[in-house]
């Protein structure tokens, strides 16, 4: 208890109240280190009574539990020389309360009439120390993980200062921890990380999206040379560290190099293949031209001989003519087969009446039938109807089977049966050609469809032919998704059956191979197969998708397709998707979409070819097409085509119109004119200068690129046909550059552009979406807005019953 002066009673009790309220244990010691008093918290914490405490030497308290050497040092050595000490940490096992970490704070003070007192405050920080130790362990653990990662990692704080790097980072970039930590990333290693693209990324992209993936950075690092790094970043909340950015770098230099090599090899192979195809096409022409002359002149001579009644010449001329026709057939077969092998044989699918075709082939074959004294009977099932297939190939297949039948049958009968039937959920056409000829031995059957193989070598001498007929027939049927089968008994006859889908699909669109994103497409396929009468499959796709309400997404990438599909569906559009160009075209015919979004880069048939085919079809050419390509690599951005297009010679008015669209903010703005024709350049220059532009000229794409390195133009006027680097390549180059991706390019093309070139650039692209790097969301919204323009219900939109549409079919 305090001894009080009467005058200070109130003040003293007030002070004691405060002291008792303090939740930290307090001890008041006099100069001899005897306890003057303690507060309530002290008695509670150390579980001692006031009697066992007051007036005792501190070291005697609680059976000497305070006799701690460190405390002795503190009280006897430190205190006398200074009036205060702070945060003296004391770890000690107290008998009553166990091992504790106490933080001691001391103040010497003179309290009124009392002699000098030492106030000793004790804070129990045992728990705090324990959790701090745990946290440290966790951090060490995390750092160990980070150090184990083989990819270099940098951890940045919100101000882009390096919090830490991992071992791989220090090793890869050959820098030390000291010259890295707490520095701004741009300052690292003499500014080797001060890369404009990285700045954009960290300062513009990250704050908005909290992460980025696979940003490709090519840079000359002083220590390790030119490298291609793939950067990935994640923002994360790291407790008391606040917000951190983890930047992972993957060195993909080698990978890119090998990818380039593969691309080069592929290119070389493609070139070789193209050369081969060219050779075949040329050879075809070269062989056929003289042969046509031989055939023509021999026919003329036959006619003349008949007129002049030179009976003696007739037989010989017939032989020349027949041999010539035979040679022509052989050449055609060999070329067809080479084309198939080179993958150059294409299908030209159309709907046609099967009965008519069979009649036609029968007509051609009838003279041969009669020659061998055979009979030919044709049975067509009622309702045989139409088939959607490659008419020429069906005709050739049927002709081959019939001519074989006729060739190997004498004084017998040949029967053709044609019908349609359902198998495995789709409709098939079968044409069976049966004869009562020589038939085939089982051993011969095996080799029957092999290229350049006849059942018996002696057959060649006896019956002629290349042995390619059946091989080709089978290849043709297989190309169309069908097959040819044979059943034969030697001496009794043979029976060949052609089976074809009633609606042949374009190659590469096999049913069942559908990926999830293409579900809609395969549904439409099934519908199409069920309605074989539909010309070009146009009336198919069922009632659930009336033409004029669907948006068709054509993209080879399932992820992009799915993304677009889901996004547009959410936006209220009925969406169908196609995995590639050919499927896209087929679905376009079936579904008559109100708009099509078309990916530019697809492997089998690129966007431009699809566009060309769409625009070549009278029924499809009015469908708005949105060309887009989403390249995951933001550095490349979303590639795009030309912004505008004008024909040469340039009409001044037209050019002025175009220029007005690309207003020049601070005249004179630089405009780059790329044209190999100096005269044309001069004309354009005059017009441009009159309009207040400053003209830069380049005679080809390569020179133009060099110009652009020196000065970035505000607009490019581009001729397409140029030596060295043509306009198309130039556009590709420019669009490949992040900084130039948005530059408007106006194509000035000569009148005699080839059709595909024209198609690549003219107004058929309703819109070319331009979007460089960054937000995919923005691109999607742009697509949506464009679609709203076309796909919103409009009274004048053609409906299936509409006569206009019917006429277009």
């Amino acid at each position: 208890m305090l001894r009080r002066k009467p005058r200070g009673d109130d003040v003293a009790s007030y002070a004691q109240d405060i002291v008792n309220t303090v939740r930290e244990p307090l001890l008041m010691l006099d100069t001899s280190l005897r306890v003057h008093s303690a507060n309530r918290a002290f008695y509670q914490t150390f579980k001692v009574s006031a009697e066992a405490t007051e007036n005792r030497l501190i070291y005697e308290l609680g059976n000497g539990q305070w006799d701690i050497p460190a405390l002795r040092t503190l009280l006897e050595d430190v205190i006398p020389t200074s009036s205060v000490f702070n945060d003296f940490e004391l770890e000690h096992t107290f008998p009553m309360i166990g091992r504790r970490v106490m933080l001691l704070n001391g103040r010497r003070l003179r309290a009124g009439g009392h002699s000098e007192l030492l106030v000793l405050a004790m804070e129990d920080v045992t728990e705090r120390r324990r959790s701090e130790a745990e946290l440290k362990a966790i951090e060490t653990y995390a750092q160990n993980i980070v150090d184990t990662v083989r990819e270099p990692l940098l951890i940045l704080d919100a101000t882009l200062r390096v919090r830490s790097g991992n071992r791989a980072f220090y090793q890869t970039f050959q820098v030390s921890c000291e010259e890295t930590e707490n520095r701004l990333i741009y300052e690292l290693g003499n500014g080797q990380w001060n890369i404009p693209a990285l700045r954009t990324l960290l300062e513009d992209v990250v704050p908005q999206s909290s992460a980025f993936n696979d940003f490709e950075l090519e840079h000359d690092f002083p220590a390790i040379g030119r490298r291609v790094m793939l950067l990935n970043a994640r923002k994360l909340q790291a407790g008391h560290h606040g917000e951190l950015l983890v930047l992972a770098m993957e060195d993909v230099t080698e990978r890119r190099r090998s990818e380039e090599e593969v691309a080069k090899a592929r290119e070389a192979a493609e070139t070789a293949n193209k050369t081969k195809s060219m050779f075949l096409a040329n050879m075809s022409h070269e062989l056929r031209t003289p042969l046509n002359a031989i055939l023509g002149y021999s026919e003329m001579l036959q006619e003349e001989a008949a007129e002049l009644e030179l009976a003696g010449f007739g037989a010989d001329l017939d032989r020349i003519s027949a041999a010539g026709k035979h040679l022509l057939a052989l050449i055609n077969d060999i070329l067809d087969l080479s084309k198939i092998e080179a993958g150059k044989m294409e299908l030209f699918l159309e709907s046609f009446d099967l009965a008519e075709l069979i009649d036609e082939v029968a007509c051609t074959i009838r003279p041969m039938v009669e020659e061998n004294a055979n009979t030919l009977d044709i049975h067509l099932a009622p309702g045989l109807g139409a088939i959607h297939a490659d008419q020429m190939k069906v005709r050739q297949a049927l002709f081959n089977l019939l001519s074989n039948a006729v060739k190997f049958t004498h004084e017998g009968s040949i029967t053709v049966d044609a019908g349609r039937q359902w198998m495995d959920g789709s409709e098939w056409i079968t044409v069976r050609v049966a004869d009562t000829g020589i038939g085939l031995e089982p051993g011969q059957l095996v080799k029957l469809f092999q290229d350049f193989t006849q059942a018996d070598p002696s057959t060649t001498r006896k019956f002629g032919g290349t042995g390619l007929g059946l091989a080709l027939t089978r290849r043709f049927c297989q190309m169309m998704g069908g097959d040819v089968t044979v059943h034969s008994v030697a001496g009794e006859g043979s029976e060949f059956t052609i089976t074809l889908p009633a609606v042949v699909r374009e190659a590469g669109a096999e049913p069942g191979a559908a990926s999830p994103g293409a579900d809609a497409g395969s549904d439409a396929d099934a519908d199409g197969a069920a309605v074989p009468e539909a010309r070009d499959g146009a009336a198919s796709a069922g009632a659930e998708t009336p033409p004029g309400s669907v948006v068709l997404v054509i993209d080879d990438d399932p992820v992009q397709r799915d993304l677009m599909h889901r996004f547009l569906s959410r936006e209220g559009f009925e969406v169908r998707s196609a995995r590639g160009g050919e499927e896209g075209l087929r679905l376009s015919r079936q579904l008559r979409p109100v708009a099509i979004t078309l990916d530019v880069t697809m492997p089998d048939m690129d966007g431009w070819s699809v566009l060309k085919a769409l625009k070549a079809d009278a029924a499809l050419r009015d469908i708005p097409v949105i060309m887009l390509t989403m390249v995951d690599d933001p550095a490349r951005g979303f590639s795009l085509g030309a912004a505008d297009y004008a024909t040469k010679p340039v009409n001044r008015l037209r050019l002025s119109q175009i220029l007005r669209k690309h207003t020049c903010p601070n005249p004179p703005c630089p405009v780059l004119v790329v044209d190999d024709d100096a005269a044309a350049r001069a004309v354009t220059r005059r017009i441009l200068e009159k309009e207040g532009w400053r003209v830069c000229e380049a005679e080809n794409g390569r020179v133009a690129l060099a110009c652009m390195e020196r000065e970035r133009p505000s607009l490019i006027l581009l001729d397409l046909m140029m030596p060295e680097m043509d306009g198309f390549e130039f556009v590709d180059e420019v669009r490949g550059h992040r900084e130039w991706a948005l530059l408007p390019i106006v194509v000035l093309s000569a009148h005699d552009l080839s059709a595909p070139e024209r198609l690549r650039l003219n107004g058929w692209v309703t819109s070319i979406i331009k979007k460089q790097g960054g937000s995919r969301e923005a691109l999607l919204h742009q697509v949506r807005d464009l679609l709203y323009d076309w796909a919103a219900p409009r009274p004048n939109l053609p409906t299936p019953g509409d006569e206009k549409l019917a006429a277009a079919l």
């Binding site: 056929r288 042969l291 002359a293 023509g296 002149y297 026919e299 003349e304 159309e350 008419q391 020429m392």
Partner: protein
């Protein structure tokens, strides 16, 4: 006498077809490329044009387009002749304005049928 303009760059094909046609009673004029074909058609106004498609200077499609675009020659029937027996060629030729289409090698009876169909029976009967 029915006058036919044959536009064909291959000398043998030209010689052969013109002689065969002449023997059938047609009067045949010749042009060796697309441009001279267009000029000769305008100058001579033949009753029918047989147009090869792969021609130098101006190809057959373009030549046909020009013929069909010019008032004096617009009514002259044009039969496209092509060596490429490809589906789609027919459509391409018809799109260019050709009235009919035949493939090479020429089968004379078939070609004559087409010629007569286009001339509406006014040709061969009154050579």
């Amino acid at each position: 006498m029915t006058r036919i303009l044959l536009v064909e760059d291959n000398e043998m094909n030209r010689d052969m077809l013109s002689r065969r046609l002449e023997r059938k009673g047609y009067q045949v004029t010749l042009a060796v490329d697309g441009l001279s074909g267009v000029e000769m058609a305008a100058a001579h106004l033949p009753d029918l044009v047989l147009m090869d498609m792969s021609l130098p200077v101006l190809d057959g499609w373009e030549a046909t387009r020009r013929l069909k675009a010019a008032l004096p020659t617009r009514h002259i029937p044009v039969i496209a002749l092509t060596a490429h027996a490809m589906a789609g060629d027919r459509e391409k030729a018809l799109e260019a304005g050709c009235d009919d289409y035949d493939t090479k090698p020429i089968e004379l009876p078939r070609l004559l049928e087409k010629i007569e169909a286009l001339l509406g029976g006014t040709g061969k009967d009154s050579p």
